[in-house]
């Protein structure tokens, strides 16, 4: 995606689809991150915790949220991300990440993007807010 001349309130990102998220992808992340929580890789453990299936690790979703925000404009820096998880995403599901600029401080070179994670069935699973550092000259309230 090319750099936009100005980042304005209401601008949206191109929705990013991830999935179907395979158990192998989850296992690779669990192995690399060191997250040994059994519910992510052992469906029986997930069921013992009351879940229908192994959930995708939250930090893996955060990594994809960051990627979605960063793709908006390569000239910006995503300096912060705050995510709240509302519902688990099960292995095998596909998620779609959408986002919208909700605040721009052109003078301060900052903007805020709100992001949403939904399953392909439309269930909202996470909401997030990304703090963006804008390059000089970008940003329009």
């Amino acid at each position: 995606m090319s750099a936009s001349p100005a980042i304005a309130v209401g601008a949206t990102i191109e929705p990013l689809s991830v999935g179907p998220i395979s158990p192998a992808q989850i296992a690779a992340f669990a192995d690399r991150s060191g997250d040994n929580n059994p519910i992510h890789v052992d469906e029986a453990a997930a069921r013992r915790a009351g879940l229908a299936a192994s959930p995708v690790p939250g930090m893996q979703i955060v990594a994809w949220l960051h990627a979605a925000a960063a793709r908006f404009d390569r000239a910006i820096d995503v300096t912060g991300l705050s995510t709240r998880f509302l519902a688990p995403v099960a292995a095998g599901e596909t998620i779609v990440i959408s986002g919208r600029i909700v605040q721009v401080d052109a003078a301060g070179g900052r903007a805020v993007m709100r992001l949403f994670v939904k399953t392909a069935a439309g269930v909202l699973t996470s909401i997030a807010e990304a703090s963006l550092a804008l390059p000089p000259g970008q940003g329009r309230a």
Binding site: F29, S33, N37, R48, A49, W64, R71, T79, S131
Partner: protein, 135 residues
Amino acid sequence: MSPSNVRIGPIEARIEAEEVAAYARATAIPGLDEASGEVPATFPAVWLWHPAARAAVADITLDGRHVPVLTAQRFEYRAKLRIGATYRFEIESLAEPGSPDSFQIAAHVSTPDGERVAEFSATYRLFALAADEAA
């Protein structure tokens, strides 16, 4: 259960290029060529599962009778992490006052001379595990 407050570190860690590459592969989105050569913003997640931090979480989760489920996560950077650089990180595990089923892990990343680079926090809710299913 009542998670107690635990402080771990500071622990020094050097960011190695091959670790970054492996982490980037593990978080890659199939079909997208997003390799930037930079340290992914979520890379410090690997430090949150340092053996000392795992031990503290094992204590909180009563050695496997509960599992932590991530309910919120936040990070904030003041400067980018660099491959080849050494950082210090400190981890705190904090009880949530009035919420015995929740705890928070906070991590601070600094340069060796003490300049703060990034802050992370994660809030978990403890889920009790049911007994093993008979069949």
